[in-house]
């Protein structure tokens, strides 16, 4: 089991001169060229028009005072970036987003792994049933379930206070609001990790576990010495996809708290939304979005590098 994000390109020598092809070229099938060119045009065209060009425009726009309401697009140099980087609001949102992502990813992975191992265990009855249940929140629409949670958190009529006998003002208490959104997000997303870890567990070779068992390794040791290292690529996959999606978490904040109370739940993507489509300061919002893009790219790259290094050391 390997995590491959890259197609297996035929083995051309590294740094080989383009043009002088050293690889054996298989013949082109009739109709292949037309099909291939159609795909290249559609995919490359969409990449250029809907991704590359917008990124370029956002980059240029981040150096402008850009307001679509009055049509302004005036060059201001680095002003958006200097305002941004000296704004406590921006830094607060970044730190909050980091905290939010770290906690949610930890619970998503821990809960996902624990439940997957439990479902996988020979002792468990009704595996398919549990799998269906735990995955259900993941396939339901976030906007709708966020409203359900908002009503569950209602201090007077909500299910949480009523059935647990508590009297907490979940979404309006600055200390509790962000953890409340985290809890909802963990509930919504842990099932994805369950399904992926279950798939990973199915590919752990049984004879390795049996051999360890014969050698006297207990269940706990077998898990940490054999199963867990073999699940590492799956864990990396879950962590990387989670980093990317939680750094841009937005809808749950919009529905549950609108960033409040105060700025207690203002995550970076909500801040960008607010600057762009409530205040129509497109330039400032683009600058903030670019910082987010750089942070996302760096964190993804670091997790990827760490995992590759780890894998090499395991194999070496």
């Amino acid at each position: 089991m390997t995590l491959s994000l890259r197609p297996r390109v035929s083995k051309a020598p590294p740094g080989g001169t383009p043009g002088i092809s050293t690889r054996r070229r298989v013949r082109t099938y009739p109709g292949e060229r037309a099909l291939r060119n159609t795909v290249i045009i559609i995919v490359a065209g969409s990449l250029l028009l809907l991704t590359a060009y917008p990124i370029g425009l956002a980059f240029v726009g981040s150096f402008h005072y850009w307001n679509p309401l009055n049509g302004a697009f005036d060059f201001v140099g680095l002003e958006n970036y200097t305002t941004l980087l000296s704004s406590p609001d921006f830094w607060g949102s970044m730190i909050r987003t980091g905290f939010f992502s770290a906690v949610v990813i930890f619970f998503r992975v821990a809960l996902g792994l624990a439940i997957a191992v439990a479902i996988f265990s020979q002792l468990t009855r009704g595996k398919a049933f549990f799998r269906t249940i735990f995955y259900m929140p993941t396939v339901t629409p976030l906007v709708a379930v966020a409203y359900v949670w908002q009503m569950m958190y209602n201090p007077q009529t909500g299910a949480i206070n009523t059935f647990l006998g508590l009297d907490l003002n979940w979404l309006y208490d600055p200390q509790l609001a962000l953890p409340s959104i985290m809890a909802m997000t963990i509930w919504k997303d842990f099932g994805y990790a369950v399904i992926l870890f279950l798939a990973g567990l199915h590919s752990v070779p049984e004879d390795a576990l049996e051999a360890a068992s014969v050698d006297g390794a207990g269940a706990w040791q077998r898990f940490w010495r054999i199963t867990f290292p073999l699940l590492a690529p799956m864990t990396v996959f879950v962590v990387i996809t989670s980093i990317i999606s939680y750094l841009q978490a937005f809808v749950q904040v919009l529905v549950l708290t609108k960033g409040g109370p105060g700025t207690a739940t203002q995550l970076i993507s909500y801040l960008i939304y607010d600057k762009a489509f409530v205040k129509y300061d497109f330039g400032y919002a683009s600058a903030a979005a670019f910082v987010l893009l750089i942070v996302t790219a760096l964190l993804t790259l670091i997790s990827f590098r760490l995992s590759v290094g780890r894998k090499n050391s395991l194999e070496g």
């Binding site: 990449l47 809907l50 249940i133 995955y135 339901t140 906007v143 359900v148 569950m152 990973g200 937005f250």
Partner: protein, 272 residues
């Protein structure tokens, strides 16, 4: 004996966690059948004291939910069909043909998954407004027609289609596009099922982009309709429960119908 106790204990723990997982859904559906008086009463019961349809009837009267529901179904079906077809085709071509720039094309496609929506949504907004596509469903269909995730997932799954099978079809004289339709697509059903649910859900769930593009209330999608409804009738909890139930239940039904294939497809995208 010991294993039987352990088995019972483990199943019980999972059952408790499972109950906690489905609780919000059950509570939502049951509350949708309670009157607002009952929902706001100081004494709460789990089951409705008296079952009523008034919430569903009232939201339909205040707010054209059936219409919005229809809009969302239409868009979700159209976009899902287009995105699955383009993803499967691109996945097939990238996995099975060798051509210069293949790695680059795939690399950039996968790379798009990493880009936060916040970066592209502002320029896309100005682009689509300038192109006069506001209040036109094309503005919702075009950006979703090619999916980086979809292409990634379909390419990962092309190992389910052995080269020998393709070769055999070629020897029989089948054209490449026919091979794609008759062999590749049917052999990719698990991945297609998984991608279908994801894609359907993304369209169903997309909030900000339709909110920016569609201003005509009659053509709005359900996700935006929900927030508008909550904004206007924020204290009508019964109505909101009914509205969220209408929004959540269809997806759960589709999921339960396809879940076996779906789980196989999701897993095979990540394990290879």
């Amino acid at each position: 004996m010991r294993t039987r106790i352990a088995s019972g204990l483990l199943t019980a723990v999972l059952a408790i966690l499972g109950l906690a997982t489905v609780f919000p859904f059950v509570w939502m559906v049951l509350s949708a059948f309670k009157s607002n008086k009952e929902i706001n009463a100081p004494e709460q019961t789990f089951l409705p004291a008296s079952w009523t349809l008034e919430n569903f009837l009232a939201i339909e009267e205040k707010f054209d939910f059936i219409r919005l529901f229809g809009n969302s179904v239409f868009l979700a079906v159209v976009i899902t069909a287009i995105a699955i077809y383009t993803s499967a085709l691109a996945g097939f071509v990238i996995a099975k043909y060798q051509f210069r720039g293949r790695g680059l094309l795939f690399g950039f496609t996968v790379g798009t998954m990493m880009i936060p929506w916040a970066v592209t949504i502002i320029p896309r907004y100005t682009m689509f407004v300038d192109a006069g596509l506001q209040d036109n469903y094309l503005s919702l269909i075009i950006p979703a027609a090619i999916s980086g995730f979809g292409i990634f997932m379909m390419r990962q799954n092309m190992h389910a289609v052995p080269d020998e099978v393709l070769e055999a079809a070629r020897i029989d004289g089948a054209s490449e596009i026919r091979i794609f339709h008759r062999i590749v697509l049917p052999m990719s059903v698990n991945s297609i099922a998984a991608l279908a649910i994801f894609q359907f859900l993304w369209v169903w769930d997309d909030y900000l982009w339709p909110y920016l593009m569609i201003s005509d209330n009659a053509n709005q999608v359900l996700a935006v309709g929900l927030t508008t409804f909550a904004g206007q009738y924020g204290t009508d909890y019964g109505g909101l429960f009914a509205a969220t139930t209408i929004s959540v239940l269809p997806v759960i039904v589709v999921y339960i119908l396809f879940q076996r294939r779906f789980v196989a497809g999701v897993a095979s995208a990540a394990v290879k």
